[in-house]
Symmetry: C2
């Protein structure tokens, strides 16, 4: 018996841009520039430029499996670099410009990258990083056409654009297995040392198909997507892949994520779906509240990164006239784990949605054993799936337990309808007098106060109780509340001994490079550790 066969078809990321270039050649990728105007290119043109980058890199000796680093904002050039690197079968190491040069150099050294592609305005940082890494032979600057002054020999710093002029454009993509690595991203390090997560073509391809689903981001060819999540972190949630796969317009904000810039961009480009963390949209709301204006084209905002305060969600929905989709994910998940459907009438800020097919969740005890009851109880959140980490870069040990589950470090409940509710970080828990206090529950109450912009609860070393909670708060512009008023909101909502011992007023609260509240820094500054 000769069995039939289906065509071979490798799930590689270059196919997204090939598809977009063929079927949506004129659909634009738009980049906001510092000048106030925007650059734009169709997918067909973007593919041609990305292919040229592949040829240039290939000419510089980059081969399948080699790492190439990028240090850049969300821009057309960065998208071209992604596809140019990944299409060749090389691995794109995305570097966060808000980290220190020492942190970045450590990542580059670990990756063994020899080429660094950087935004022109990040050239000084790129050079300082490169000067610490002997393996880096070349820094290629994007978004600059003049060749910059060479940095005296090594590493060679030059503009990429002139190299592209005569580069060939023939198709050389996809000559590798779908399980080949495509990306390398170090975790944000808000709770520990950065660890490298390797993405593969297959995992990011399958993750992309998830974004297109009706119950996830529901990205359509008629949408214009604003990617306000950085491309230097967790694949920008896969948006540069998903927009191409769907033939949707993609709007990239460059380095400016302030409320005024984003509000302008949303309106000039008629954005329909905007994706980013809650604090970014708070900025847009505050800008509109101060300066007036509406965002009529905007239909939905997808938020993630940290649980959203209910008051903030309501404020965003009301002021911007949008539906907010909450989500949950992490670098190790590519990053999307769960997402609230676009039109869930029962949605709430606490709920992070449900897992789409390809993601499975399990609640476990502290020892990693599955809880006998999975609904309505709190547990340590474990995850398995087609785009979930199995092993960190450079680590010989698996990142999963014996049953193949990855422990996210989050605490969570799953309600009767299967909605995920993140209740805290296991590492953020405060142990006071031998009992656990969950900062997230206190933060949720404080954040609901209309005058509070951001709130964080951390543990402070205490000679008698081990740890005691203290509250760090940032008020909305020009507003303040007395300690008594703030704490009275907690009475009856949390146990009396959960009430913080002190209140620290900061303006602003320090944020980690990913935009989350930097609790590590707060613990150092105020936690006595």
């Amino acid at each position: 018996m000769i069995d039939g066969k289906i065509q071979p078809y490798a799930l590689t990321l270059d196919k997204f841009l090939d598809h977009a270039a063929k079927w949506s050649p004129d659909v634009e990728v738009v980049t906001a520039r510092d000048t106030g105007r925007s650059d734009r290119i169709g997918y067909a043109g973007l593919r041609t430029r990305s292919l040229k980058i592949s040829h240039v890199l290939s000419g510089l000796g980059v081969a399948t499996g080699d790492r190439v680093a990028t240090l850049a904002w969300n821009s057309q050039s960065h998208v071209e670099a992604w596809y140019g690197i990944m299409g060749l079968g090389a691995v794109c190491l995305t570097l966060n410009p808000r980290l220190t040069e020492a942190q970045l150099a450590a990542m580059v050294i670990q990756s063994e990258a020899r080429i660094l592609i950087a935004s022109a305005d990040l050239a000084p940082l790129a050079q300082r990083v490169a000067s610490r890494v002997s393996a880096i032979g070349r820094v290629l600057l994007v978004d600059v056409t003049d060749a910059p002054a060479k940095a005296g020999g090594k590493p060679a710093v030059e503009a990429l654009e002139p190299l592209l002029a005569d580069a060939p454009t023939d198709a050389i993509w996809g000559r590798f297995a779908e399980t080949a690595a495509s990306g390398l991203c170090f975790t944000s390090g808000t709770t520990g040392a950065p660890k490298g997560v390797t993405y593969t073509h297959r995992s990011s391809y399958l993750h992309t198909l998830r974004l297109l689903q009706a119950d996830v981001m529901r990205i359509s060819s008629t949408d214009t997507i604003l990617a306000a999540v950085p491309m230097f972190h967790a694949n920008a949630w896969g948006l540069p892949f998903a927009a191409a796969a769907a033939g949707a317009r993609l709007v990239l904000p460059g380095r400016h994520l302030d409320g005024a810039s984003l509000a302008t961009l949303i309106n000039t480009e008629a954005v329909t779906i905007a994706v980013g963390i809650g604090t970014v949209w708070l900025g847009v709301v505050e800008h509109l509240e101060t300066h007036g204006g509406e965002t009529p084209s905007l239909e939905r905002i997808v938020v993630g990164g940290a649980p959203l305060a209910p008051a903030l969600m309501e404020r965003i929905e009301r002021r911007l006239g949008v539906i907010v989709q909450t989500s949950w994910g992490m670098t190790e998940l590519s990053p999307l784990g769960t997402c609230a459907p676009p039109a869930d009438p029962g949605r709430s800020a606490q709920m992070s949605g449900r897992p789409a097919i390809g993601v499975d969740l399990q609640l476990a005890d502290a020892a990693g054993q599955a809880l006998p009851e999975q609904r309505g109880v709190e547990g340590h959140l474990h995850v398995r799936g087609s785009a979930v980490i199995d092993r960190y870069f450079g680590d010989p040990e698996p990142a999963t337990n014996a049953d193949g589950w990855f422990n996210t470090g989050d605490l969570a409940r799953i309600d009767a309808d299967g909605n995920l509710i993140i209740t805290g970080r296991a590492k953020d828990l405060i142990k006071s007098g031998g009992e656990w206090i969950n900062p997230a529950e206190i933060e949720a109450v404080i954040s609901a106060h209309p005058s509070v912009s951001l709130a964080a609860v951390i543990g402070r070393l205490d000679p008698k109780w081990g740890e005691r909670p203290i509250l760090v708060v940032q008020f909305c512009a020009g507003q303040s509340v007395s300690d008594d008023d703030l704490l009275s909101a907690l009475r009856g909502r949390v146990a009396p001994w959960w009430i913080p011992d002190a209140i620290i007023r900061l303006d602003p609260i320090p944020l980690a490079p990913t935009g989350k509240i930097d609790k590590m820094r707060l613990r150092v500054d105020y936690g006595g550790c």
Copy 2:
């Protein structure tokens, strides 16, 4: 350097039901019964029963790669059989009850299946088929609890239900590679001898993700899907997979696809999306036009199988208050190739939508060479993709050309926006006086006449011209039109020598087992060949 890894995660179809059972345990699969009432079961219960079937089959000696045949309508039992067979790694051969026992026996013999699972009301046909196939050792009847009278020894005919009672329910699914075969379906044979198409877990998994996309069927967990496409043909367009993957309700009409039955089912089950060929929805429209009534829950109808007449599309949209999504596909494509997005304001009956990521189209000349210009010209439609045939069952030769393209046999244009317009079947073309006549263009004009229900143009042997077109027409109930009136609609719309030489009035026009007009039969009866 130790590279990082993503978790292994095989794309196998059993995962859909596992996911549905865990996250949507009470969401129902509903089956319409002859009694007028409906049976219903949640995904959790359906998974348990499917696992029992796997254990029963395993106990009967079915191993990975073995074929198991089904001869059944769209029902819960058939879905259970699918998952029971496929979860085990066996291959489900779906048989069309509207074929002859000789045709069915030939398919079963070719497949080497040893077990046949059949709807109880198809037991006589199943026995007749089995009696022609010595390899069939057992016929298992579903939707019957009493053991039927044994058919005198061989093959053993018995009810499946009693065997399930004591079957174990432990998880034994997914113990095979994702490239393992999952299904085997013979093409409908309206234009030639049936050929077997083998589906794999991977191809059907990826095809399923396509259905969930925003620009394809946009299936959401809040939807109720009516699968009016038969499970015995081309995976019922993947709906039993997609509904489970999305956690959507699935409504199965059993064997009754008449307008009255479907209208009732749509309303009692509050169907939101209905999928089937155009003639099925014409039946619903005619029923409502005659008997009154509305279908308020119904939002969308996805049609395929054959290009839709513009007048019929408009009539369906207006009478049912729905959006009609046109599509194009074929058995060899798993089957969906293109689909019009749910809310395309420029939609029209002629357009079959655009290819989603994972499907690529190419227009070629008769020799298979790609046309230099792909837009705005007619060509032979070739396709490539993750769920497209590479080789027919039992055929040592590839079904693709040297560049990996499968020739669909369809003629098509692609418009400036990338919409596919099927212009005819290459084999249906009529050669008259050395020039080609395209029946599809004539049919489109005739079908637009308000009194015409169905129209087909075929070639009749002609001593002078080689072939001449003749028109076969079925009028709406109680209506008729003179030959002159009918043909006058063509004048000025098609070339004068394309006007059919004769009109044959049939009531009804014979349909092939898939519901398409049976042009092979028409050619035999009226074509002089």
